[in-house]
């Protein structure tokens, strides 16, 4: 059955996104993860990728066009000869202020309705107008793809909307951890002052503008993950297989406004500390400008995250898909003499002893 690809929400305040580039054509075969189109707002750019293998059945928007968040941007199908729903196969005609509310626009797209067909009670078409129309004219079961609905009965009336790209990423992460990993967590209390002194010296000697503390800790993880057995994963199947990665791709979380990014330094274990620090600064800058490409957010084999900037004293992170470990850095105690370093790890790869040994190594700075 044809599956719609909806325009995701890029920023909380933008109900409309611009189609910056369409990367596929009708009939193209796509694989999960392939780039379909690039959308942008004044603040950010986001890549829309195929969530599964298939074929492009129809492109429902045009390059340069503004489309509503949640609108169907294109249709994918399992085979190239499937027919997309007729009402939505053509280009979507959208203007920034089209005489309707964003919710009304979303409902129209969801149900493949024309605005002209729906009587309006005021100058601007509202969601209530569309809902009133739908109550009198229930959509035929075959006129549009049936969205997957939860069988859970909601406790109160509610509205639904597509997940943001951040939420979809987090859903994929927690689902992988739940279904494919044996996640365990442990933490150590340590004295953060040696690390702070090492980072300050590193910063001073190289005239750096930023403290490299977190970068250096992440770099140390990349250096030791191999030997600890943490730069690996397990592939399930009839015969489960241990996969040892040949390079350590370090994923690092960056909160940019409302969006959480997981940028990846490839082959981090092969980089000198200084090169790693510069590479990670570069990716952080790109993340904060919402300019990361999908390639810069893909392929992590180990992960590092910090919530110190919000004063969080300990936190239990989620393992990113196909990674063996995620280190959790936190804020020091008020006296500055102690801090907690946490680690979520895949228990299929590491025993508790292995995990503690790696964590202890990370509480001590290297020589720079």
């Amino acid at each position: 059955m044809a599956q719609p690809v909806h325009a995701p929400r890029v920023n909380n305040n933008d109900d409309v996104v611009k189609v910056a580039r369409i990367c596929v054509q009708v009939g193209d075969a796509v694989a999960a993860g392939d780039l379909l189109m690039e959308l942008e707002t004044e603040k950010a750019t986001v890549d829309v990728e195929a969530e599964s293998d298939g074929y492009v059945l129809a492109v429902a928007c045009e390059q340069g066009q503004d489309i509503a968040v949640g609108a169907v941007a294109l249709w994918l199908g399992a085979t190239p000869d499937e027919a997309p729903p007729q009402a939505s196969a053509g280009p979507v005609t959208m203007v920034a202020d089209s005489g309707m509310t964003a919710k009304a626009r979303l409902l129209l797209r969801r149900h493949a309705l024309s605005a002209g067909a729906v009587p309006r009670t005021a100058a601007r078409l509202t969601a209530a107008d569309v809902e009133a129309y739908l109550a009198l004219h229930p959509p035929a079961a075959s006129s549009a793809p049936t969205p997957r609905r939860s069988s859970i009965e909601l406790p109160a009336p509610a509205e639904t909307s597509p997940l943001s790209s951040t939420a979809r990423g987090m859903l994929a992460t927690v689902t992988w951890q739940r279904d494919h990993a044996a996640a365990a967590y442990l933490e150590l209390e340590y004295d953060p002052r040696p690390w702070e002194a090492a980072a300050a010296a590193f910063m001073r000697e190289r005239r750096l503008l930023f403290s490299p503390l977190l970068s250096l800790m992440a770099h140390r993880l990349a250096q030791f993950a191999h030997n600890a057995g943490a730069n690996a994963t397990v592939l399930e199947g009839e015969t489960a297989q241990l996969v040892r990665y040949k390079q350590a791709n370090l994923g690092f979380t960056v909160q940019a406004g409302e969006v959480l990014y997981f940028c990846v330094v490839n082959a981090a274990d092969t980089l000198a500390a200084s090169d790693f620090v510069h590479k990670l600064f570069y990716l952080q800058r790109r993340a904060m400008g919402h300019n990361l490409t999908s390639a810069e957010m893909r392929g992590a084999t180990i992960g590092f995250t910090s919530m110190a900037r919000w004063g969080v004293r300990r936190h239990q992170p989620v393992l990113a898909p196909n990674t063996g470990v995620m280190i959790a850095h936190s804020a020091s105690a008020p006296d500055g003499e102690s801090a907690i370093l946490g680690m979520t790890y895949d228990h299929r790869l590491l025993s508790g002893f292995d995990a503690v040994r790696l964590l202890k190594t990370l509480t001590q700075p290297g020589s720079y």
Binding site: R207, L208, L209, F210, S211, L213, L214, Q284, M288, R309
Partner: protein, 90 residues
Amino acid sequence: MTDDRNAIMTRLRRLLQQLADDFGTDASSITEQDVIPDTGILDSAGVIEFVMLIDNAYDLALEAQDMTIDNLGTLSAIAAFIASRQATQS
């Protein structure tokens, strides 16, 4: 067109205060000579964000080698760096 130093400084202070507000600190008393990363007004990620905002505001196309304490460590240094880049571009 180049901005005069006062205009640059006013804009820099506004950007810095905006980030300080987000971080829960106050940048109103910072002097032009204070080394921003040492003031504690912003954390490391905040300094990176500050640099990104400056880069975008003045179209500086900063490279890794530009991001040193000497070039961008104080408001005074940043203003001089921007003026220098604008002079080169014009």
